[in-house]
């Protein structure tokens, strides 16, 4: 048996198919993953993401510590309430994890890390904190819900605490508001508008039920995966891991090279690789033949191996199969490749993610 979120019984009562995920027993879907996907693109869906691990980093040296720990620069967070996506690298520039870091107030930040890597991440963060005056605290007292879709924010509004409601509704993307123990971010992992909400675990059931009563669809990990794939967002453990540096994972844009004197973990190793001519490219693929792209399928340029699918699947919004793939520069430039599906080369077009944003396809089908 895995760990259970405060909403586990509510998932079971809704008939969820429960699967193990990163040490947790989580809902995969509540009947139809496709219906849940469409609900988020067209109206609103809610995900229990309480398996994700918020961590509070506090103290006088919280900022310099995070500037050392993360490849992106928290100095970009000039005002409290701003959020930043970053990789956390090891000395070899391998990705220990990816995370969103919220700046709450001077000397107080909240990175949110992945469930499956949480123990490893915490050990890593403690290990790297020895020279800094910081306190690092797991927030196991919090639950986390993601409410996503074009109607998500307006349906969530009446359920937010009065103390933070107006501030939450005024948020621009990648900003967050805090109050009454809640942290409400205008962030997500679906390519749609919405909130990610951290709140005291005891209040999670009320918010969950309130959202369902308002017509928000309960959504599981299955729809979360197809939504993030259509949005062109990487999944840790699949599109990158400790054997991959962010340059090879299409995450070069998250590395803050300036200022040059900021000596973040992994910087030296990354710099050495930065100008390598054979650096793989991360691209999107749209399958032109019949079939479904899946992780680990081989990409072919002519008859020669030219890369690998890192995440693939059926894109419900496009009714086509799509993938994220790591390919050679030649394959990326070619525009058309093939993918080996059960021994047959099936043609695919190289495209630039995202595939879908705010309900709309971002490419010609």
């Amino acid at each position: 048996m895995g760990s259970r979120t405060p909403l586990y019984d509510a998932h079971v009562a809704l008939g969820a198919k429960i699967v193990p995920f990163g040490g947790w027993d989580m809902p995969l879907h509540y009947g139809s993953q496709l219906d849940e996907h469409h609900a988020v693109r067209r109206h609103a869906g809610v995900f229990d993401v309480s398996h994700m691990q918020p961590v509070d980093v506090t103290g006088a040296a919280a900022k310099p510590y995070l500037q050392y720990l993360l490849a992106n620069d928290v100095n970009k967070l000039q005002a409290p309430g701003r959020a930043l996506y970053s990789c956390m690298l090891n000395e070899h520039a391998g990705v220990v994890d990816d995370l969103i870091c919220y700046y709450l107030e001077p000397g107080r930040y909240r990175p949110v890390v992945n469930a499956a890597t949480a123990d490893k991440d915490l050990a890593w963060m403690h290990d790297k904190a020895s020279k800094f005056d910081v306190s690092i605290k797991r927030r196991d007292d919090l639950a986390m819900l993601a409410v996503q879709g074009p109607a998500a924010r307006s349906l969530a509004e009446p359920l937010l605490p009065a103390a933070v409601r107006a501030a939450a509704m005024a948020l621009t993307p990648f900003h967050a508001a805090e109050g009454d123990g809640w942290l409400i971010g205008r962030t997500g992992y679906t390519g749609e508008d919405g909130f990610e909400i951290m709140l005291p675990a005891a209040q999670a059931g009320m918010l969950w039920q309130g959202l369902l009563d308002a017509g928000v669809a309960p959504c599981g990990l299955g729809a979360r995966d197809t939504l993030r794939l259509e949005a062109g967002m990487n999944l840790y453990g699949q599109d990158m891991d400790e054997a991959t540096d962010p340059l090879a994972a299409g995450l070069g844009w998250t590395i803050a090279w300036q200022p040059p004197e900021r000596n973040f973990l992994g910087r030296k190793a990354l710099q050495a690789r930065r100008d390598a001519p054979d650096l793989p490219h991360c691209v999107g693929l749209l399958l032109e033949g019949r079939g479904v792209l899946r992780a680990h399928q081989q990409v072919l340029l002519g008859d020669s191996p030219a890369g690998e699918v890192t995440s693939g699947g059926f894109a419900p919004t496009l009714e086509r199969s799509i993938a994220l793939a790591r390919v050679t520069p030649a394959a990326a430039a070619a525009g058309h490749v093939a993918v080996d599906i059960r021994g047959k080369p099936i043609p695919a077009r190289v495209v630039k993610p995202p595939f879908v944003r705010n309900g709309q396809p971002k490419l010609e089908l």
Partner: protein
Amino acid sequence: MSNIPADLNYTESHEWVRDNGDGTVTVGITDHAQEALGDLVFVELPEVGKSFAAKDACAVVESVKAASDIYAPVAGEVVAVNDALDDAPETLNADPYGEGWIFQLKLVGDDPAAGLLDPDAYQRVVDDEA
């Protein structure tokens, strides 16, 4: 509770087999299988005219989660395939024992139930997986 019709035979790999009484059988996947797979999004049908031994992989169904092989439950030659599944693979979820049939085989042997499970035996297979 998954639906296991009494007038069909089954395999341990979750195909169902209907004896058409004319030397052919119709094959599909069970209600239990479609539920375990989740929403089906793609079907690769066998070629009409191709022959398979029992337990040969002969078709593929893909759900939002993964690809699964479909095995020939008995030896035979493919005499018909359900082309409608190309455009509507979701029929496998909606009506696995009816409109969601996948292919028909002309039997090589005389026994349309050779090596297959009866409904009670298949129920035990499903129960063991739970």
